[in-house]
């Protein structure tokens, strides 16, 4: 059992606010990592190459040095996905945790070459009560004029630990649409960093989270804008019930020279119990004059009027709440084109809110 400190914000604020980092106690870090066999990789089109040929990750942020090194030295799943075409089948990687496959340390490197368009779906799921451990890094490079959709789905159970570091690099005119569905894990800790160097590059991150029981969700999202006319958009919608806690740390950093850049950040948390806790630090850092930056956050319970209306139509409270959460999440869900996956997410919303 180990105590760890991770997910430091790029700029510190007062220690009394308890948001500069997250401290986890008595975390079981596996020492002898066995092979992870319960993984399914979808059939690939001829223009996508999958290999394990890539260098160790050097992350600017990441969750912490120990977890980055664990991925570099002990990964039991490695994938280098190279995209070379505009029309591809979606790449799907499904990890399923069970008694024989309970520790996953994955390193996924994605390279979207010039003028390509593709979708990668990575799913982490545990449908049994096994106490699983996941530590992963997903690094993506979007070369000029490429469009990359990445969907990360966390359906782990409430007794597992989920640690994920994400880093994206952008060349000119590139675009990455990221979707993170963050529903599982006793502790689900994510570090997300977009290094937007390219002019006219566009980083979009859409997150849905649900916390229940005593789950802790710690999200540290950082977008650094360097390129002219570059754009970052962070949209986070979530719901917390029981004694769940959520820390949202969102940083949009306008670096000198990112003229005409635009950054928007919006976080909305629905509180479904009086013991759930929502902590947010939406930061805007600005060293460039000719930019536009906006952020907004809000927290509160579901609107009484809406709830009353739905219940007056014959729905029970639980079902009415499910409907309202689905409605809040719908704007992001609609963008997920894979219908099977979308339905799975809807099922999980019902299961976790119900």
């Amino acid at each position: 059992m180990t105590n760890i400190v991770l997910n430091e914000t790029p700029v510190r604020t007062s220690r009394n606010f308890n948001i500069n980092n997250v401290k986890l106690e008595d975390i079981e870090i596996p020492k002898n990592i066995q092979a992870f066999k319960n993984v399914k990789v979808s059939e690939l089109s001829s223009k996508i190459a999958l290999n394990t040929d890539f260098n160790n990750f050097e992350l600017k942020y990441g969750l912490n040095d120990f977890l980055t090194e664990q991925v570099n030295n002990n990964a039991n799943f490695k994938a280098n996905i190279v995209i070379d075409s505009k029309t591809n089948k979606d790449v799907k990687i499904d990890f399923k945790f069970d008694e024989a496959n309970k520790d996953l340390i994955d390193a996924i490197n994605i390279v979207a070459n010039e003028d390509t368009k593709s979708t990668i779906i990575v799913k982490y799921e545990s449908d049994c009560n096994v106490q699983a451990y996941h530590n992963g890094i997903i690094k993506a490079v979007a070369k000029s004029n490429s469009v990359l959709n990445i969907i990360v789905v966390n359906f782990m159970n409430e007794v597992s630990n989920n640690f994920l570091s994400i880093e994206n690099c952008f060349e000119n005119d590139s675009k990455i649409n990221y979707y993170i569905i963050d529903f599982g894990g006793q502790n689900s800790i994510t570090n997300y960093y977009s290094n937007i160097k390219g002019n006219n590059a566009n980083s979009r991150l859409n997150t849905l989270y649900i916390g229940s029981d005593e789950q802790l969700i710690d999200l540290n999202y950082i977008g650094e804008l360097y390129g002219e006319k570059s754009n970052v958009n962070i949209e986070v919608q979530g719901a917390l019930k029981d004694k769940a806690r959520k820390n949202f740390k969102g940083t949009i950093d306008f670096k000198k020279g990112c003229k005409k850049a635009v950054g928007n950040e919006n976080e909305n948390c629905i509180l479904l119990s009086d013991t759930a806790k929502s902590l947010a630090l939406p930061m805007l850092l600005c060293s460039e004059e000719d930019v536009e930056g906006n952020h907004s956050t809000s927290s509160g319970k579901v609107a009484e009027k809406e709830l009353f209306y739905i219940m007056s139509r014959g729905f029970e409270l639980k079902d009415a709440l499910k409907l309202l959460v689905r409605a809040k999440f719908n704007k992001i869900l609609e963008e997920i084109k894979d219908e099977e996956l979308r339905n799975e997410i809807l099922e999980q919303i019902d299961k976790r809110i119900g």
Partner: protein, 466 residues
């Protein structure tokens, strides 16, 4: 467009230096002997001496902040923490020595006293040199005096409240303050008394390489009402000066307090000030704050809403020019049901200055039915200044309405074009937009202070745009 940059602007009246003449200046540094000597000089009662010595121990144990502006240039060995001016406490301006009186004259204090204030306190370096209040308030039982007199004349009242709203262990500079505090104002407004005109305390630091550590303690009793104004300035020296004041406000049930500050310290000042208010049932404290001076400022007034239905509003503006790092903001702690907080914070950065808005809104488990709305806007006037927004929102119950929004950007080219097409020069157009940006804050101030704030904005804009 060519921009004219002036490294130093004339801060006219604020920069007038008097000779560094004093009755007594303690040696530089911070030791037990120095704290004991301050206590001796001030003829403290034993209980106050004990607080000072305990605070020094706490100061030595606490670490420097690990966040915010770099404070490494602060060397307490180079700061004299107590400077007694060549003047005792007076109740008539005629008795104040000429050079000191002239300074306050130029700052407009005696004139404002005649026209629009119910009482005035004026502190020069470490001691209050003038304190006076209108007779009718005295008859109503209002107490407005310097802190030293309060310690001697109202020991029970002071003992009950001194360093209780702001605990000594709050942070390192609070502990420093409690160890070496000197001067400041004490106000007690009895139950049901509503003051029509404001009270004002003005703090002037003249002595180089020194610190000012005034303590302001205000108790607004049940159903009473007060507007208190605090002004501060200092001339510029080459080495750093330190201001670590402390403001403790007790706003009892159904009482109202407005606390307005126009801070215009010199640009060699480290302003590490602490202000807190505790609000009772249905009480309200409103903060209005204009922050223009200081090299580094770390100032986050805090409202602790302990009574059901308590309210607070913060309306503040920071204006950072070259070499300035103003890290300001606000904290509200909702500790009771149906409390509310409204924050409207603005900042302007120019000539390489840095403004940071840092805040905390915490709605605790028992604060059901509470509301909080936060809005912050930052304006950048050039491409080498910095503007950061670092707000923390900590919501611990579901029966709340909480929203926060922030915007960052430059003056819109379209708006400038519009105003120029109506015949304004570019400089005037920009100045008009900046004044409009600051208007929600200046309209909250009494008219003469709003004029002062607009003058400060004009002064700050001089040479910055064009």
């Amino acid at each position: 467009m060519a921009k004219t940059q002036l490294e130093e602007i004339n801060r006219n009246i604020y920069d007038i230096k008097n000779k560094d003449e004093y009755d007594y200046k303690i040696k530089k540094g911070l030791t037990r002997e120095i704290v004991e000597e301050i206590s001796n000089q001030k003829n403290d009662p034993d209980w106050m001496r004990e607080i000072r010595l305990k605070a020094l121990e706490t100061y030595n144990k606490l670490e420097m902040p690990t966040w915010g502006p770099d404070l490494s240039e602060l060397n307490m060995d180079e700061i004299a923490t107590y400077v007694r001016p060549k003047s005792k406490l007076n109740s008539s301006w005629d008795d104040v020595p000429d050079d000191i009186k002239n300074t306050f004259d130029k700052l407009g204090i005696p004139e404002a006293e005649k026209t629009s204030l119910a009482g005035v306190g004026a502190q020069y370096d470490s001691e209050v040199v003038y304190h006076s209040m209108k007779d009718e308030l005295l008859k109503q039982g209002v107490i407005y005096t310097d802190m030293e007199t309060a310690v001697k004349d109202y020991p029970d009242l002071v003992k009950e409240h001194f360093m209780k709203c702001v605990p000594i262990s709050d942070h390192k500079f609070v502990a420093l303050h409690a160890a070496v505090w000197s001067g400041g104002s004490f106000v007690y407004v009895p139950k049901g008394v509503k003051l029509e005109m404001p009270l004002q305390s003005y703090f002037r630091l003249n002595s180089p390489e020194s610190g000012q550590f005034e303590h302001t303690l205000i108790i607004v009793d049940e159903g009473a009402s007060l507007h208190f104004i605090e002004g501060c300035s200092a001339p510029k020296y080459n080495k750093v000066n330190l201001h670590a004041g402390c403001v403790e406000l007790y706003v009892r049930d159904n009482a109202y307090l407005r606390y307005s500050t126009i801070e215009n310290w010199s640009k060699n000042m480290l302003n590490l000030n602490t202000k807190k208010a505790i609000c009772g049932k249905n009480a309200e404290v409103d903060w209005v704050s204009g922050s223009f001076g200081s090299k580094i400022s770390m100032l986050y007034p805090m409202s602790i809403l302990n009574g059901e239905g308590a309210k607070t509003e913060f309306t503040g503006i920071s204006f950072a020019g070259g070499g300035q790092n103003l890290d300001n903001g606000f904290k509200a702690i909702h500790n009771a049901p149906n409390t509310s907080s409204v924050v409207n914070a603005k900042s302007i950065s120019k000539n390489g200055g840095k403004c940071t808005y840092r805040s905390l809104i915490r709605i605790n488990e028992n604060a059901t039915g509470s509301k909080s709305s936060v809005s912050c806007e930052s304006l950048m006037l050039d491409d080498f200044s910095i503007s950061d927004t670092v707000p923390t929102n900590d919501i611990r119950t579901d029966e709340v309405e909480f929203s926060h929004e922030a915007k960052i950007g430059k003056i819109s080219d379209k708006t400038i074009f519009y105003l120029m097409s109506r015949g304004l020069s570019e400089e005037d157009a920009k100045a008009m937009i900046v004044r409009g940006f600051a208007y929600p804050i200046s309209k909250e101030l009494p008219v003469e202070y709003a004029v002062e704030m607009n003058n400060l904005i004009n002064l700050e804009l001089e040479g910055a745009i064009g």
